[in-house]
Structures are given as C-alpha cells and as structure tokens.
Amino acid sequence: MDTENLIENNMTRFFHILRHLGVRVSSAETVDALRALLAVDALDPRQAEAAFLATLAKSPDDRVIVQKAFRSFFVPPELKVERSEKYKQIREQEAREVAVAEKEIKYELDGAGDEHKEVNVPLTEEEKKIYSKLPEDKKEKIQRFLRKQFQGNPVNNPEELINTMIKSSLNYWKYCLEDEGPPEVEYTGNEETDEILREVSEKLRDEEQLLYEDIQNIAETDMPTASAIIAKLSRRLATRISRRYQRSKKRQRMDLRRTIRQNIRYGGTMFNLKFQTKKINKPRLLLICDVSGSMAKYASFMLQFMHGLVSVTEEIESFIFSEKVKLITKEFLNPQPFEQTMTDIINLSDDWGKGTDFNEALRVINEEYKELITKDTFVIILSDTKTLNAEMAATRLMDMKKRVKDIIWLNTLSKKVWPGTRSVITFWRHCRMLECSTLSHLDKIMRTEMMK
C-alpha cells in the first residue's frame, strides 16, 4: 500500500470531517496543518494533536471540536472496528424499527363487493423513523385512527386524505421529539466518515447539553450553572457597550479653539495641536419583557441578563408586561443581588404569570414614556408573540420602528413553527426577529446581532 497516499487521504478526510462539524478550515490552514505535522513528531499523538489545535482551531469552541474529532479519527484499528460494530447495530436496530413502522401504518379500505384492500401510507424514511420513536400510546392512537377512519363512511379519494393527516401528525411529533442540540451535522454518505461525525456530535451534545436545553426545561439543579453562563454573556455585551464609539469619518479632528488658545503663548505658531476626543456613544436600551404564564422562566433569565448590563450603562429602561405593563428600571438600579431584585419585581407585579396584552403594553410605552423612544434607542422585546390584539400591536410596533434605532424581537418559539404561527407572521415584518429559547441562541445573538 502507498503509505504517502494513505497519509494524504487520511489528512484530507480529517479536514473534511472538521468542515462537516462546522470548523472553518481554509486551504491555507490545511497546508499550515500539514507543515505543522511535519515539524513535530507526528507519531506522538499529543504532539500531533497540538499541531492540529494550533493550526486548525481558532477559538475555544473550535478547540473542543478539533480535539474531539482528532480523538475519534485517529484511533487504533481495534477501536475503529468496535465503533463500526456499535453503529452497525444501531443502524440495524433503526432498520428493524422502520420495518415495524411500515407494517403498522397500514389500513384497510373497502374494495368492490365484500373485498377489502390493504393500503400502506406512503411515508418517507424520515417519517417512518419519527413514527418508530413515538411512545407506544401515541403509536396506538395513530393505529386506532387508521382502523376507524372511513369504515362504513364512504369518502371520495380517502387515501389522499388519510396520507395527509398521518403526515401532518408525524410532522407535529417531529418538532415535539426533536432534541435541542448543536446544529445538525451534515452527513457525507460515507459510512466510516459518518460514524465519526455521529460519535463527535453525540459527545458534543452530551457535554454542552445545558447550552442547548430550552430555558423552560432547565432543571432547578442546573440553575446556578445556567445563571453563571448568563452572567458571562451579559459581561461580554457590557464590554462591547462600554467601549462603543461613535464612528467618525475623520480619523482625528483638530480642536481649533483649544489649539489656538494653547498656542497664543508661542506667538500664534501652532506648536501644540489639540484634537477632539472621540465621543463615546453608549446606546440607550429599552427592554420589553413578556412575563405572562408561558414566558416567566425565559423572562427571569432575560432580566438577569439585562441586570448585568446596568453596571456599564444606566441607559437601560426595562418594562415587564403581561396584562398590564410596568416600568422596573428603578428596581435594577438598586445595588443588590439579582435574586433579591427578582423577588422585588415579582412582588411589584400583580400580573406576573398572567395573560398577555402586548398592544396595551406598547400603547402605554408609546404614550406615557414618549421620552424613551428616540433615534438612539435599541428596543429588545422578549416574547413568544402570543398576545391579544396582535394586529393592533403590530401597527403600534411599526410606528415605533420609525422612531427608534432598531427593534430586536427575541422569540422563544422554535423557528420551525414560525411560518405556521399567525402572530409571528404578524410581527416579524416590523422588527428583526431572532429565535431565543436556549442559552446557545442568546450567546449567538449577543455575538453576532447585537450592537451591529
């Protein structure tokens, strides 16, 4: 066997795997990685791993992925066999489940005379897999539906109707069953490569579960860790706010008045030049936080996040709303632990956890707090869009958009259901709507969307 080619092929496959795992590896970096590998003792796994980490990983997140991919890819042959065997068994199990699904999703239709014909619902492989993952009672419900429908109740073209209903039901379950996790890995179709991709993504998912967990489902025991993550994210944005400058086209503008005054002593010769200092332009933030029943836990995290920003800018006004709206800025300015602040806020609000009227909230803010709505104001809304009077609220939001710098809507509903949710469609035209139901979403938004 040509060893050189084997090494090259292996390296190329490794880079390919990293790209599939979301690490941006350019051609120049692959060359660097190979040069690095030649510069160290490539037979020493720790040196080889360090060489790849040094040249291919460019952030702490990348490091975790590169390290896991390295440890999954460069394994002794016996471990490779073991892994292949494990995933082969998983594939076989999945195939068996799909076969069972095919058998179960059938129904009988009356044919001519007393004959009955057995009809299969034409499902895709993915839909069959969804069915096989359903709890037994849900499977039984679908089967009952198939058995009962249309018996003795003739319908034109019943097959199409049944197919649509079953597919819709499975589609619904797909969203319910889907694990929150790192972005789905794009598989290559090559069995061996896909096994490595699957192993790495499973390990990543296990380790960073909390980041991808829906905030609503975070267990009490994980709350301190989640709070710590929130505090870190908040500090990161605070740093960006604290040194946000107004961009000036002129790099350095001379301050003529100060320069002349300073140089009178030199007979008017401009000996000491004085320049204008750059003006710090801290944005004004306006948080409108939905604290209705479905939103209480998200709101608590978001408020903690905003609480962290108060240390760098006092230009934050926070409102909470459900049926009514309340300004809670004053509570945030008290130098006390977040837990105490939250208790005060909950005590202050009679309708924490009640229904939602965003229209009323916007009306009050627009009319009674006009001074907060300026061209420097950055509005952040946290809500799942489920509100009374959505149409009227949307009109008010459109009006507000004209008078502020930007409106960001952090929506806790899964993005997948947005197109089918009327209230989302009503609002998303008038703001930048971003999915925000996990800490990972919040992290990404802070890094890429805020204060652009």
Partner: protein
C-alpha cells in the same frame, strides 16, 4: 528559528516558565512556521509572560505594543516629531542663507521620526519579539491595518518609500477574548488557548517562582486556588500572579501552612473585589476551604503511603 522542541522545552524551564506539552508544541510551531502566535485566554494565565520568556530565550529585545481603545496607526507605527520640525522651520526662517530644499529634506529625515513599536520591530537589526498585547481592545479598522503589517512585514512612509523588515520578528498577540477577532487575522496566526492551570501545574509554577516556599504550603495554596476557581462563579478568577502573591503573603506572616486565620488575613490577595469576596463567604467560606485543602492533603498522603 533554529531550535528543537527539546531545546525550547529546556529553555522555558530555565526561565521558570512551566508549560504543558500543547503550549510548548504550539510555541515551537509558531517559531518553526514563522507565523504570529495568537494567545487567547482569561487574564492572568501567562499570555504576556510567554512573549517575555521568548525574548529571554532568544536573548533579544522585547518590543511591546500595548493595545487600548482608540489606538491608531500613528501611535503604533510612527509619527513625525511635529514640534521639532516646527522649531527647525522657525530657526530656518531667521537664517536667510538657508536653502529651502535642504530644510525640507532634513525635516523628514530620521532625526524627526518618532519610531513607534511596529516600525521599531521592522527596523530592528536583531530578530526581536514583538508583543501585541490585548489586541481585542483595538477597533476593527486598526485590526485590519495590523493584519496588513503582519502579512508583509513592510510599511510605507510616503516621504521615504517602503521599508521591509530586516528580520521577520517573532510576533506574539494576546487577547482576553473580549471581542471576536477577524477570521483573516486568526487565519494568519498559530492559535493557543491558555486556561487557568490545574493545581498540579500551578504547584510546579509556585515551586519554580518561589523556591524558598515549603512544599506543603505550595501544595495547599495551589489546591486552595484550584477550589476557588472551580467552585465559585467569580467576576474575576484569581490569576497565577495572585496565587504567587498569596503564597508570598502567607510566608510574610511567618506561616508555614494555611489555617482559617491565615486564610482570613490574606484572602484579599486573591479575591480583589467586594462581589467576589461576598460570593466566597456566601458560597464557600473560610472553614470549608480550609477543610477541603486539609482533606486533599490527607488524601494525597494516604495515596503516597498506599
């Protein structure tokens, strides 16, 4: 740089800079591949120290560009000494015999140029170590400018033309990850992430930096700092320098081991803001920390005997 991995390792050890294998290999690769070394990590883990140590290892000059908000090309590259030029013009005015052309030429000579760190590194006779510290503090325009300089190691002074580096400097960039750096800059660099050291490594650092400290106390301090970093969500975790300060503070009080009283008296050397001190007292406490350290020591002794 003609140095082997083993030589670099022993040179680091001679300088008292304790590194793990990954740090060693990454630094070695930056030297070998002639690429800037980008070191990221929380404050106080030895990022800047790495550049200083490299300068010592190669017995060369350390040129430091400390980044800050608003740093621009003038402060980083060069400036004309405007005041000196003005004086020259004023003097020349009085001297009627002075030739205009001569005066103009001399105004843009080396005598009137104020070299800033980047130009200094480019003009250095001996390959220097250029430390660009806290790069994440500059704005994106300056980062793009830096990116150009680091690509070609040549700069253009309109009055002089292009100046290319005599020697490509060893470049170390440090960042506290307060802002994401551009992909382009990252791609040009060899990347190293330095995290807080585990207690075993910290113990080696303490022993190397304060050799007079007794082993038991070094061990206790390393363990205690490890517990504080690991178990508390602090605004600012103790840096390595603060660990060393703590150890020195304990010695200054003539103590040869940690006790609740000693921890109480010296805690402010590791936790330096009120929130963190409150957090410590609320969620850990002096007695608990002391017991954890004692239990670790007991467990280790038992392990050693076993």
């Amino acid at each position: 740089m003609d140095i082997t991995l083993e030589q670099l390792k022993s040179s680091f050890e001679e300088q008292g800079y304790i590194v793990d294998k990954e740090t060693l290999v990454t630094a070695y690769l930056a030297l070998k591949l002639h690429k800037p070394l980008l070191v990221e990590g929380p404050p106080g883990v030895g990022k800047t120290e790495l550049a200083k140590v490299l300068a010592n290892v190669f017995a060369t000059e350390l040129i430091r560009l400390q980044c800050y908000e608003g740093l621009d090309e003038n402060k980083a590259l060069y400036e004309w000494n405007y005041q000196k030029q003005l004086i020259k013009i004023q003097i020349s005015k009085g001297n009627q015999g002075g030739q205009y052309r001569e005066v103009e030429d001399s105004l843009f000579s080396e005598e009137y140029l104020l070299e800033r760190p980047l130009l200094k590194a480019i003009k250095a006779k001996q390959k220097p170590v250029l430390l660009i510290d806290e790069i994440d503090k500059v704005d994106q325009e300056f980062e793009a400018f830096l990116f150009e300089v680091l690509s070609d190691f040549q700069i253009s002074i309109p009055e002089w033309g292009t100046i290319a580096a005599r020697q490509i400097p060893i470049v170390v960039l440090t960042s506290n990850s307060e802002r994401e750096l551009s992909d382009g800059l990252k791609r040009r660099c060899v990347y190293l992430y330095l995290d807080y050291p585990p207690p075993e490594k910290e113990l080696r650092i303490i022993t190397a930096k304060i050799p007079e400290l007794c082993k038991r106390l070094s061990h206790e301090v390393a363990k205690a700092v490890g517990h504080i970093r690991e178990q508390l969500e602090l605004r600012k975790k103790p840096s390595i320098a603060e660990t060393l300060d703590w150890a020195r503070a304990v010695v200054a009080l003539d103590a040869d081991r940690l006790s609740p009283e000693i921890i109480n008296l010296t805690l402010s050397t590791v936790l330096k803001n009120k929130d963190d001190l409150d957090n410590f007292h609320r969620n850990m406490g002096i007695q608990d920390l002391f017991e954890m350290v004692v239990n670790d020591s007991t467990a280790q002794k038992t392990g050693e005997r076993g």
